[in-house]
Symmetry: C2
Subunit: 323 residues, 2 copies
């Protein structure tokens, strides 16, 4: 950990320590390739399948690092968070593995499948409105009442260090990558990617992919400061949250570019992945592929790592089905 302008910013040593700490509780997820998508993109794509991760998403990396780094005294009071879904699942999973309570504030509008899964892992849910402001207000009440340790979904150095273990694995699994691309919401995965690659592979380009309808990171990147939207609407429901100061540090320092895709492009890429790669991925994970297919000049001829961030989907409400 180092201090940058008053912020506790994780270092690569924290990633290495996180990897040792969380290894018993996570999968080293497989990397899949697709002849179809290589032909469509003109690039060589390596899909790091965090949809196969424990609790169904990469977020279990950061959550486990936070939970298993707590002192016994801290741990006894449990952990708490607010989340649009996957961080809630992951923190509940991690807390369950340690045998401590997990309090979760999440929007009443979150997919039923995610709420049921949180409860399945033993998480206790308090519902809030879908806006960021409501979520933060309700959360303050819950934390006050329980004394639980707050594990922010992304603006937490323990979480960012944990997410950094994903690209550490990817670099061991695939040789000669030219670029890595991940979806960006709050920026936890992108920050972890920046943290790891800036240390062990600084020549690798880092792209972030974002929905046009929740393009606050795209606009922040161009403006040079954080721009936050309250409650944007997109099918990629994991990507609605804004950057915070710690993720902004990494995004502004190390990201090559942020590219965006429309709702239709995201849904098309999601359905295409299910149809051709035979894997279940969330809408959020389809944004990188949508962006790659939309910007062939950026990626053609490159070896590109694509972080498939999660696979927690409400199978009764697929975005290409007319309701």
């Amino acid at each position: 950990m180092k201090d940058i302008a008053g912020l506790d910013i994780p270092t690569y040593d924290d990633v290495v320590a996180a990897h040792e700490r969380i290894r018993p509780y996570i999968h080293n997820t497989p990397v899949l390739t697709s002849t179809t998508f290589d032909e469509m993109s003109g690039a060589s794509l390596f899909f790091k399948c965090e949809n196969f991760q424990k609790a169904g998403a990469f977020k279990v990396r950061g959550a486990c690092n936070a939970v298993f780094g707590l002192s016994d005294e801290q741990a006894a009071r449990g952990v708490a968070t607010h989340s649009s879904g996957n961080h809630a699942l992951s923190l509940s999973y991690a807390a369950g593995r340690r045998g401590i309570p997990c309090h979760v504030v999440m929007p009443g509008t979150a997919p039923e499948a995610k709420k049921a899964a949180v409860r399945g892992y033993g998480g206790q849910i308090t519902e809030c409105e879908a806006s960021t402001t409501s979520r933060e207000a309700v959360f303050a009440e819950v934390q006050e009442a329980t004394g639980a340790d707050f594990v922010h979904p992304y603006n937490d150095p323990r979480v960012i260090a944990g997410q950094g273990t994903c690209s550490r694995e990817l670099m061991e699994q695939v040789e000669g990558l030219d670029a890595v691309i991940a979806p960006i919401g709050g920026g936890g995965m992108v920050s972890g990617t920046c943290l790891t690659l800036s240390e062990i592979a600084p020549h690798v380009e880092i792209y972030a992919a974002e929905p046009e309808q929740a393009d606050d990171a795209f606009r922040s990147f161009r403006a040079g400061h954080i721009i936050a939207d309250d409650a944007p609407q997109t099918v990629a429901d994991g990507l609605k949250v804004p950057l915070k100061e710690r993720t902004w540090h990494f995004v502004s320092s190390y990201v090559t570019d942020i590219l965006t895709a429309s709702e239709d492009e995201i849904v098309d890429a999601m359905k295409l992945t299910w149809a051709r790669m035979k894997i279940v991925m969330e809408p959020s994970c389809a944004v990188p592929l949508a962006v790659i297919l939309k910007n062939p000049d950026v990626f053609r001829g490159k070896r590109v790592g694509v972080i498939v961030t999660g696979g927690n989907v409400d199978l009764d409400k697929l975005p290409w089905m007319k309701s």
Copy 2:
């Protein structure tokens, strides 16, 4: 190849030769595990993911073995088949890789996604009715007109030897298996499994899983002779076809038991696999898991290889969605 009662029956040498022949054109597919399903079943399950196979199903193994074993003279006249879908895709893929024509007779009721994929691989489709009798009649006309080599979806020694390469890989990937289970329609995959395991691992039990609503193999197994149904109805549309003499040879000689599952049990197992394993599998592939969950006494405590036969699904018509 050996002669048994006038039938050309493949031997394990044919499996080894097939494996060498087809290796450039197929994937050695990964084996996935699932903590959830291990806990639900009390067994250790190893899913051989042929849904990630070229052309989306195991059938490409037998199809490639047939196509690449042809003489140049035979190959010039092309290949032809009738199929409920995946064999058609696979033969089209194999013929395309060799650069020869592929003629396909398939039911007009087959999923649009499968027809489009056959055409995408260059296959030429002639449609028939959904019954076995109609399919065979229309096929005779096509073969007469083209002179193409007939590659039956399963009652062909080249195809059975090709399918036998799947469990050959599985035995290299997983140690100490007690049993292998695969869905059964015409019996091609089950026969290939019998062929390989009876030679290299004769202690391993072989189970076949079949829909209750298309349980002709189950009834044949108990009756001691082939019973064929014409046009049974089941969501597992790859499993509607009856056993033929070559697959009956293997099924009657080597299968431990055939177990069945209802339509609801199949759909539940399919949806559960998508939700928990994050893989896209066909209804047919869900029959083994449905059978395992239904018969815990048979599988508890065993290490069981589960052949996930294919992932070609019409994503616009999922069986748990009300239309």
